[in-house]
Point group: C2
Chain length 481, copies 2
Amino acid sequence: MTGLVLTLDTMNPNIKRVEYAVRGPIVQRAMQLEKELQEGVKKPFTEVIKANIGDCHAMGQQPITFFRQVLALCSYPELLNDNKFPEDAKDRARRILQACGGGSIGAYSASQGIELVRQDVSRYIVRRDGGVPSNPDNIYLSTGASDAIATMLKLLVSGEGPTRTGVMISIPQYPLYSAALADLGAIQINYYLDESNNWSLAVGELRRALEAARKHCNPRALCVINPGNPTGQVQSRQCIEDVIRFAAEENLFLMADEVYQDNVYAEGCQFHSFKKVLFEMGPKYSEKVELASFHSTSKCYMGECGFRGGYMEVINLDPAVKAQLTKLVSVRLCPPVPGQALLDLVVNPPQPDEPSYSTFMNERTAVLAALAEKARMTEEILNKVPGIRCNPVQGAMYSFPQIQIPHKAIEEAKEKGQAPDMFYCMTLLDEMGICVVPGSGFGQRDGTYHFRMTILPPTDKLKIFLAKVKEFHQRFTERYS
Amino acid sequence: MTGLVLTLDTMNPNIKRVEYAVRGPIVQRAMQLEKELQEGVKKPFTEVIKANIGDCHAMGQQPITFFRQVLALCSYPELLNDNKFPEDAKDRARRILQACGGGSIGAYSASQGIELVRQDVSRYIVRRDGGVPSNPDNIYLSTGASDAIATMLKLLVSGEGPTRTGVMISIPQYPLYSAALADLGAIQINYYLDESNNWSLAVGELRRALEAARKHCNPRALCVINPGNPTGQVQSRQCIEDVIRFAAEENLFLMADEVYQDNVYAEGCQFHSFKKVLFEMGPKYSEKVELASFHSTSKCYMGECGFRGGYMEVINLDPAVKAQLTKLVSVRLCPPVPGQALLDLVVNPPQPDEPSYSTFMNERTAVLAALAEKARMTEEILNKVPGIRCNPVQGAMYSFPQIQIPHKAIEEAKEKGQAPDMFYCMTLLDEMGICVVPGSGFGQRDGTYHFRMTILPPTDKLKIFLAKVKEFHQRFTERYS
């Protein structure tokens, strides 16, 4: 075709720079392999096991019954007359519907989100943070956490050349951040997590990265993911304090991605919200540091990715900027209302005196216990493979093991124009039907190679998965030695 | 507060320029008045009637039973064992669930949308357009139509200074367009609809606007809304042909916002999709002109705004750009899956041989008949008011009447620093409890004043509404004469 208006040469150059490995070429190849298997093409495996994305239900995790009952009642309120539903589910549904325009989840909500849901989110935060106050006016519901993160970054970006906004992100990172920054034409400032110390975050490294960046841009924000994605670490309270102090000293806007706040498995680890620590550090910090923290319905024990529910809480945001934020989100009208309803249930689950409580707690506990077991198993099995080294999966849903790639394999990858870890992962996929994401999609120190895998496959399948990784790594290492 | 990182002075300057009148200051004032009424504050009215936004369910429109039954079944598949649900609803739910990861609407879908839904959308388009082919690979599901429109605009924007991308939009326009262009820092090129000719679109005016714009930017896209928002006109087939020919001659990417495609009321008017007309014009056009057309679950007879469902179809998009588009949408993972499920029902409703057909048709027909009656009534009553002139509401859900504002009122508005139509609408709200949006939020010819109102209030309430507008306009005119 010739004479097209929109071509690679004429399109938005920022978008060309966007990358999102979690759904990149490796996943397209996996889908192609699945299609070929369905069509009867012979492969060295009978199924593709996908551990590329934190998609819980796709890996067989069952939804929480209570949540889905209430969502069904909200969708088709005729069911409120059905005595098969427990009374607490009906009460929740009535309460949510009353907060919707015309009593329907088909109406737009306020752009910031349904007021009732924002109130419930605030109460949840107060409980979670041991009484630290939370104001519903500071809560913005969102279309998954990604939406809110991208929106906050968009507000922050200004300037040109040496005054262009720089944003500090961890390496390895979740590629939403690099993608959003590329889209906005903002400057990505990498700070490296310490792999030799359980992927912890050291303030010295933050300072190094910041000082280097100040020579060519205007660093204005610091993003932290805790529990970590793709690295699975859980930050200590001390570390969070250090980060907050650093942000205060260096005048940085803090963004805390806390979507895995219920996913903490390792003994001695505990989730501390940035908000809570900030307030416990006293008014010198709690009245000064600007913080946006993010949560989602997609992870934790519910794993309801498809509903695209989420929220952010903003602290110390300039009221004039808040008005701008409210205006900006109004252009997209509102987050999906079924996702808002679901979020309301997540922050306001069945209580001990309610009929659905015991089922809810059993389901919740079972999911989190299975994840904890799979986290442990993943670390244990991978660390038995010579040439693979893996930190404990303290939290979240991922392991990010380091892999030794033989020199000859690196050479072959280079000849093919591929990153060495992409070559490794593609070969793993083609030979074993195992789908993981190369570390280069998340960032890693030069000369090191990793992959990210989720711990979501069912226990039996995860065992097969890990055995296949082991077999492959040995074979791959031999082949290229 | 001092020393904040993010202030009006340091925030993204593009975002400051974003405006979205449909949820602007007038709506905030309306909400405040509602709160005061609830608290017992005495007002010259007992309720606020809102006609500011096309939010059907909020105005009392009932959801389509079949759609909500299937959504309840998808949310809580246990209900598939319930014999209270019709078999066709169960079949649809099973079919949708089978197309979801792990059989759950809580799983992420493919970023482009569930393949089955995209296939159903394609079949719908083929039926709608009398056999013109449609390829599911060209369908992108979205979070409402707004999301897809903003995404396409984002792809199109490049260049700086005189090469910066310009996008032609109708005036009056739906403010999503001006907001998205401001956000992207693109150049908005206004072409005016002809109010004296039922808000029709004339190619001469397109040419004038284009030639003027070429002196300072690079015009690359032409956006058309049909049926029109806020103007309610339905374009003739001839007009669409003219626009396509113009786009082909002038090398413009066409964007057709067709979210009101079922909302056509006026006799002699018919919806023609840009896609269909393009293909009927033969390969000279159908193989050349780049077109993206948009649809939504939020309008038409279903009005399911809260689910944020929608799709776009792209025609003649450069395959390399398509790959970039697919990559870009993958960063946000996927559109909300309940919205995708709903969209599937909209494009694949009950068939004549299915048990839900007659109820479905009765509900659909009743909604559209009521809208047609309200469209007629709005035009008739407003045109009886001296100083208000209103084109027929041929389609969509809005009237955009022109109002004569006395000179003294214009002076008073200027003293207050308000646009004259904002002053008019604020006074209308404060004195009568009637909430409409000033024409300046949509754009209008200098020296003319309008407001946009929806025709969505229930018939009885709409009568009261129109009587109040009449009473107010007479009183306002007398006061300032």
